[in-house]
């Protein structure tokens, strides 16, 4: 494209002319990346229909040419024994021949992979691959859990190896800093449960049962569930992002080379923090939820706080509280393990970081809900 600016490009054209046994391909106008698109089909036709030895390219009326033009012109004779032989070309052009040869010398077209179709078999194979991936993820997560537990026992046998400062820092991050948002959420959930129950129970004349409704719902399920979901959304994603960005910067590799065990230094503090803080957060969430229910009961149904608390003591056994609390450390453990594992799975590029953070949140919320259902069945069978 030397000597002219882009605006002066004229359209490319091609005229085919038979002369004896030869087919002459006359090129007209400018053959640049902007113009050659329309010539593609015609030249492919020539390449396929004319015997390779009989193609002659007439360059005399050719205008500008660039590598795209050179490629598409050179392609016409690519099946010949001597693609750049002089008998293939007539007419003079200052740069065309050289450029065509140059481009041909460096061109090797990559074979494109066959696009997967959208047939029934493909659908089945995608479902199969998806199920296999889920199974493998689950298996790997258990392996990660096992490795963490082994590291935990090793640290237990040798307690001065515990990284106290990172553990305390993680406890502050996971626990103290999350308390306000969890308490507020739980307060509203408690209030909503009280409202929903109040309407129904009032029509039956049992409004005082609101106390039991709020108590059982918040103590058994909502306190711990809100905590676990907030941990998954807040701490689990942070774990993945922190560990993942360290992985991307090769910090994890550096730790391994320096003889630091990443499980000991990064994973264990976070897991310990989650397991210890989850019950405390759950306790806070329970208090806030019951408080929310109590406020609604007081304002909407005239159940005074004194009556509410007295009935609470009288009617609700400790079992509900213990059931709720027993789930908290399990959820904390699951969330921390999934978050740390996904962080360790991040590879070199930025995109995998984003994908892993998403996967981490989705997996931990999924795991929490599934475990919640299993706990419910277990306690039902046990009659607690």
């Amino acid at each position: 494209m030397r000597g002219k600016s882009a605006s002066s490009v004229t359209a490319a054209g091609v005229v085919l002319r038979a002369e004896g046994s030869k087919t002459i391909v006359e090129l007209h106008g400018d053959w640049t990346v902007e113009t050659v698109g329309r010539m593609d089909a015609t030249l492919r036709d020539v390449e396929e229909s004319v015997a390779p030895g009989d193609i002659v390219i007439d360059l005399s009326d050719l205008g500008l040419i660039d590598t795209a033009g050179a490629y598409i012109i050179g392609r016409v004779t690519r099946r010949c024994s001597q693609p750049d032989g002089d008998f293939h070309f007539i007419g003079e052009h200052p740069t065309a021949r050289r450029l065509i040869e140059e481009v041909r010398a460096r061109t090797t077209i990559c074979a494109q992979e066959e696009e997967a179709g959208y047939g029934f078999m493909q659908a089945l194979s995608r479902i199969g691959a998806g199920i296999e991936a889920v199974m493998r993820e689950a298996l790997d997560t258990f392996a990660f859990l096992g490795k963490t537990i082994i590291t935990g026992f090793r640290t237990l046998a040798n307690p001065q190896r515990l990284r106290l400062t990172p553990t305390i820092w993680a406890m502050e991050e996971v626990g103290v800093n999350a308390m306000p948002i969890i308490a507020v959420l739980s307060f509203f959930i408690g209030a909503v449960v009280a409202y929903m129950g109040a309407n129904l129970l009032q029509t039956l004349g049992f409004s005082v049962f609101t106390v039991e409704l709020v108590g059982i719902a918040v103590l058994r399920e909502f306190g711990v569930l809100i905590t676990a979901i907030m941990l998954a959304g807040r701490s689990d994603s942070a774990f993945t992002a922190q560990i993942g960005s360290m992985k991307m910067q090769q910090e994890i590799d550096a730790m391994r080379v320096l003889g630091l065990d990443p499980f000991e230094a990064l994973v264990l503090p976070r897991v310990i923090a989650c397991v210890l803080m989850a019950p405390l957060l759950t306790f806070g969430a329970m208090i806030a939820g019951i408080f929310g229910g109590m406020i609604v009961a007081w304002s909407a149904q005239d159940i005074s706080p004194t009556l509410f608390i007295a009935r609470f003591h009288q009617e609700l056994p400790w079992d509900h509280f213990l059931v709720g609390m027993s789930k908290a450390p399990v959820f904390g453990l699951v969330v921390a393990i999934i978050g740390c594992r996904q962080g360790m799975m991040v590879s070199g590029d930025v995109e995998s970081l984003g994908r892993r953070v998403t996967a981490s949140v989705v997996q931990s919320i999924f795991a929490v809900i599934v475990l919640e259902a299993m706990f419910a069945m277990m306690y039902l069978e046990l009659g607690i």
Binding site: V33, D40, Q112, D349
Partner: protein, 257 residues
């Protein structure tokens, strides 16, 4: 003047807050030449490149392309001019979510109307042109080595057959053999395609090997523009130290031997 000036920078001023990087900077790039741009760290080589590319608005002065002022062009005209330019950024700046072939096809898809099959063939040709094996086409940038990434970035920069190629430290981080191969590739391409090249580099060997002229950034402006033989005799203290320091002498000796 018989010289065919493609880009000229006139009285450019660039400042970040109160920190002035360029003051009254002039630079002319001739059509068809390979110009090297050198300067100490922090003298604003990449900033100058960004100003020419239009990624940074100049705080004063103007840049002319083919004799037309950028400040008087409409955004559309500017876009059209930019589509005729190829840029190789310092770290490649490949799109991580696209394969190598798709990366090279991206400018074609955007600016040119042609059948997808031809687009793929042309992109493959550019990949070959930048010295890569054809089978890298379906790999992702994260699976490539640093040198391969630079070559893919070069292929993408060449996708639209640009008039001008801007290279920001093309050989940084390459091994000496790879760097020499890259140099000869750029030289060959610029001769075969009639490219104008502006390249920022610290590689004294590439300066000696392929640059027609070298511009030196110092004291907030272009302190000197000359072929490298003339620069060696320039009395400016920084230029003397740069070309006659231990590394400069080694590169010079390497060229002479």
């Amino acid at each position: 003047m018989s010289e065919d000036i493609l880009i000229s920078v006139r009285g450019l001023r660039t400042a970040f807050g109160r920190h002035v990087v360029h003051e009254n900077l002039d630079l002319d790039i001739r059509r068809g030449e390979i110009m090297g741009l050198v300067g100490g760290s922090g003298t604003g080589k990449t900033v100058l490149l960004n100003s020419i590319l239009g990624l940074k608005e100049p705080d004063g002065g103007d840049i002319l392309f083919n004799g037309r002022r950028f400040s008087q062009m409409s955004a559309l005209e500017r876009l059209k001019v930019n589509s005729r330019w190829g840029v190789l950024f310092q770290n490649g700046a490949l799109f991580t979510s696209l394969t190598v072939l798709e990366n090279v096809m991206a400018p074609l898809r955007e600016h040119v109307d042609m059948p997808p099959a031809l687009m793929e063939e042309i992109a493959s040709m550019k990949i070959g042109l930048s010295g890569l094996a054809p089978d890298v086409g379906d790999r992702y940038p994260s699976e490539l080595s640093g040198g391969m990434r630079k070559r893919v970035a070069l292929a993408r920069a060449l996708a639209l057959d640009p008039e001008i190629l801007f290279l920001d430290e093309p050989t940084a981080g390459l091994d000496p053999i790879g760097a020499a191969a890259f140099d000869s590739l750029i030289l060959e391409l610029s001769q075969a395609l009639g490219l104008t090249v502006l390249m920022i580099t610290h590689d004294l060997d590439s300066l000696h090997a392929i640059c027609d002229r070298v511009a030196v950034l110092a004291d907030k402006r272009v302190a000197a523009v000359a072929p490298i033989e003339a620069l060696l005799r320039n009395p400016h203290p920084w230029i003397q130290e740069y070309f006659h320091g231990p590394r400069g002498r080694a590169a010079l000796a390497g060229k002479e031997s």
